[in-house]
Subunit: 367 residues, 4 copies
Amino acid sequence: MVKIPVGVLGATGMVGQQYIALLAEHPWFEVRYVAASPRSAGKKYKDLMAGRWQLLQTFAPAVGDLIVEDANDLSRAIAAATAGRLAFVFSALEMEKDEIHALEDAYAGAGIPVISNASANRWTSDVPVLIAEVNPHHTDIIPIQQKARGWDRGFIVVKPNCSIQSYVTPVYALIKAGYEVKRLFVTTLEAVSGAGYPGVSSLDILDNVVPYIGGEEEKSELEPLKVLGSIAGGVIQNAAEPKITAHCNRVPVVNGHTACISLEFGAKKPAIEEVKQIWTNFSGLPQELDLPMAPKRPIILREEANRPQPRKDRDTDKAMAVTVGRIRPCNLFDIRFVGLSHNTIRGAAGGGILNAELLKAKGYLGS
Amino acid sequence: MVKIPVGVLGATGMVGQQYIALLAEHPWFEVRYVAASPRSAGKKYKDLMAGRWQLLQTFAPAVGDLIVEDANDLSRAIAAATAGRLAFVFSALEMEKDEIHALEDAYAGAGIPVISNASANRWTSDVPVLIAEVNPHHTDIIPIQQKARGWDRGFIVVKPNCSIQSYVTPVYALIKAGYEVKRLFVTTLEAVSGAGYPGVSSLDILDNVVPYIGGEEEKSELEPLKVLGSIAGGVIQNAAEPKITAHCNRVPVVNGHTACISLEFGAKKPAIEEVKQIWTNFSGLPQELDLPMAPKRPIILREEANRPQPRKDRDTDKAMAVTVGRIRPCNLFDIRFVGLSHNTIRGAAGGGILNAELLKAKGYLGS
Amino acid sequence: MVKIPVGVLGATGMVGQQYIALLAEHPWFEVRYVAASPRSAGKKYKDLMAGRWQLLQTFAPAVGDLIVEDANDLSRAIAAATAGRLAFVFSALEMEKDEIHALEDAYAGAGIPVISNASANRWTSDVPVLIAEVNPHHTDIIPIQQKARGWDRGFIVVKPNCSIQSYVTPVYALIKAGYEVKRLFVTTLEAVSGAGYPGVSSLDILDNVVPYIGGEEEKSELEPLKVLGSIAGGVIQNAAEPKITAHCNRVPVVNGHTACISLEFGAKKPAIEEVKQIWTNFSGLPQELDLPMAPKRPIILREEANRPQPRKDRDTDKAMAVTVGRIRPCNLFDIRFVGLSHNTIRGAAGGGILNAELLKAKGYLGS
Amino acid sequence: MVKIPVGVLGATGMVGQQYIALLAEHPWFEVRYVAASPRSAGKKYKDLMAGRWQLLQTFAPAVGDLIVEDANDLSRAIAAATAGRLAFVFSALEMEKDEIHALEDAYAGAGIPVISNASANRWTSDVPVLIAEVNPHHTDIIPIQQKARGWDRGFIVVKPNCSIQSYVTPVYALIKAGYEVKRLFVTTLEAVSGAGYPGVSSLDILDNVVPYIGGEEEKSELEPLKVLGSIAGGVIQNAAEPKITAHCNRVPVVNGHTACISLEFGAKKPAIEEVKQIWTNFSGLPQELDLPMAPKRPIILREEANRPQPRKDRDTDKAMAVTVGRIRPCNLFDIRFVGLSHNTIRGAAGGGILNAELLKAKGYLGS
């Protein structure tokens, strides 16, 4: 099979690097276009990355030899698309929100689908915020989006903030099983890689905790409502619940976001054992379609008293599974539990690739 | 002024060491008796501590020359008391709960007051669990306790678990100001020193979080109710509220427990600004009495968005102040905030010493 | 191909776990016998490991169902060998040195070859200390050892201390290329996993360095001389040089030992560029034989100014490669460089497995 | 006594903050002038520091109210000096080396003595690099410097790089005791605070070591020779020895540089016990003059096998003492030992203040 040529916008940043690394041996996609800021443009990717590459996994040699393009120069992308070297782009842009918004629009307008990791379009009403196991049906808004914008082949889909990945899939599994989830208390203990590179200063985090991450609590409270929402009137309507309050903390962990959650059901309340069953048995469309990046089981239940733990559980099943544990009654709500996911893989580049696989399987990225 | 001679039971452990260090220059008390397990007995304290001493502060030379006694051998303590070398003991015993319970009873029964850091007697109904700024009036149960047990001069007081120190004082300040506090969600991020030495293995905590500490959530939920309770019928009756649910985590921090709290008031709710005022202005009996170990202000309010932080705030005012910050509305309850206190000083040995100062000032330790 | 049934002595410890994990999908060997201390005996391995398993990789289900044997009960091993369930053992015993020495002798004497990770037999004169790429010819002493002891099929081989792995292979490559290496200054920065579990207390290593590891400097100075030695007179004669002085430090790193080395050549001195060539091109018998656990290249050269680094380089090529970098002139000796290897894989279980593969390929473990 | 008014150039950086904190209660000096980059100028120091202040100790209220000046605007400093608000400056400038060089010259030329922490003037031949206990006599070059430059009251003195503080004082003590020190192998394990703020990214140092610090090895090898040099021909002539080779590493430690040293004496070699005596008894001019910032003993000897350690020893005696330990024979040179000092206090701001105290005591800062 000939692989689909893909591009990575923001290819030199942390998430961009993670995309490049994860796509090194992808069965469907092949990175043939890399773009970054103007000052990176014109250099070979491997030359640019010498001393800046942060990951254990290396990139494919062919990617190392690519000349980095200026992400702002759309003509280069159009030329690549015309030449058959670019079918769609993963956006891991690190710019001002307004600029990213305009640029993602421009790519989509030029017929190049944008699968984005950025927050710029998360609250654009006709742009779906996808977690492939949770709301794959939100892709139905793509034709609506294209029609409304007058776009032909291009479109924009995004993925949510990494912090919500550790609890939204478990919450959705409960909803899918027929239980209303009314309210959530969430406290996150987030890894430093979530802030990019150089990101968090070592002087702020060694022997320390920082109980604040700018904008993170708002994202953690609101984005789940869009993910759990429904399409109506040509837009995605937010779900009315669960109502969420979040406390977000930065901790001295390299990768892996942990979340402590108290959850209140509606009138109908499952027993603890049933919750465990629901999570263990949960499966979504990516599993049904056997997508390459999909974990075998989206939610892994650990029965040990002291799990999940970021260093020991973050890499479970290609770092794409969400691990849950400590499921127990809550004194104030119904149940308490701990959720964990890898923030730069499941919560960023890996989640973006899974979204692309879903879109490909559904026919949105050409046949 | 001649200093009161005091003893430290469990003098070789982490909390025991912290007692010794903090008492090195104490204006009222002087360590003249140190006891530990039988295998430590008979050696000079300084010889025993070579290579085991964990703190920056050193011990007084005179303490180094003390011969360590067997804590189980009450006759030695009685002899010391008779000889005027022991007026009361700080208990930092690390044994089975039942053994500690029996031993603390025996010391008190022998006329030697016990100011304990251990959990063994926290749920003994006539033993007060003291935070000097919160429930100093609970010392009123001492004569009742003495009478019920047939004790003469001896008695037992304890202090609560270190994890509750970061939120109970702020909660009490609000109650004292006239606001009912109904419910609390608490997530703690606790330092490794809370587990003693060697305690937490480095393999469990480097680049990691452990979302479980055995027994800690139960203590964090229940002990505040006794601290906030009242004396009735010859025992301490628990307060009925706040109802608390706790998520306790171990994080890679040396000292300083952080707590993220959501708090629900009763019908009458203060504005955020009033909460800040209440905390800034809060003062207790230790401040009124100007006790040596008392912080000038029990609660320090930080206005920066990213404070309190353990490494930067734990040592505030002799490591005896509780620092609060991020006071903001909660989506589900009324307010959210972050509290922080030094777990082995304010939350352990320093709190115990402050309790002793309070008891001395009230006349319970002789005139 | 039917896999060779192997046993792991000390299967519940850190190195034992690493053996079990690395052998989970081994093409030649299959774990069918696990032994540990008497108090572990009689339980299923998976039950024993619930809550004690430290690694990301899991064990094979069949291993989980094995009943753990008492490592001291040789009759069980003999029965397993007779029944065709045990061809040889990996020894990761954690007991007193004398006990291990006696027990390894007993297994070998009973016809069960022992491939050991323990230090007990490292200075037994007819026991080879193997690094498969460096001294594979030292296996020639096995028949001599068997004859001297009156052993039939059994024998003992060991591997050196993990601390020397980061510099002995590079030093050997230079010697093999024709350069005398006269003197070495070595400073190690060693990971906490080297001390086993629970091993290093978090209170000793968070925000800290411990400039001392008991016995480590002696091992780091002397063991290389045996590895680089030769067989003569029925024993392994130590090499006369290099003369080594070692400073060993524990640092807050989970896995991966770093070493800073200054090296003095004999009269003939290679240029820096030639040193790089020698290391890049170095290959040994495991590579020639294409052994399953062998890294493609034993030494990986990084040209970046700030590499190797433990977190970024320890896992290179199945965590079996030694990474070197910062090769530069030394003001006092000839060259300086930094070496790094994964201490529990290349420096322990992985190195042991590679030794077993070498022995198998040479016919010492049956045809 | 009226305090001498001093200024801090670069008052907002890490070392600048440390100066401000350490001078908060200084008996001789009072900060009355703070300067930083143009974009900081015109604001109150306390407003600028809200959210940027990194230290536990706070600044004096009067300093908080100072208006920050533009360090480049010499006229402001001259006006302050004329007005009696500025007697000399501590330079903790963080600019390009050339700019610092020019600016320090300009201040000195304007009659304002400069006591610098920067590296810009360390190799200016008539500028002394002072460690107050080691080469206080190098202040004798000040009149020569003033005469050569045509300066009246102003002059420049600097202090060496923080990395050398852990071994130069011990080495000097041996030289002073009559032993030649010919060669040194030094491996440093340096704290992240040495790189300033934000400095080292947490992604580079959590669970990691970086075996490279730009320019640090050259400083560690060469600066000791100037400190140990002598004044001749109107310049400071470097000492000819010891010849040093350095390996510099960054480790996950907040404060405190550790150094592992092997040392070769000349023909005359002291016994280990004598080395210990020399270090324990060593005292310098700051001790003789009883300068406020001087540690009681410049070198503290620890006899425990595993000391010094940064977290446990860095704060010894106002964080101004150098702690040594593990003194033992070396296989290649004569002795091995471990040295440790606090890099931002003894190795930076505290060392600078001690230099100022020395200069004041010697009359160089006015009577």
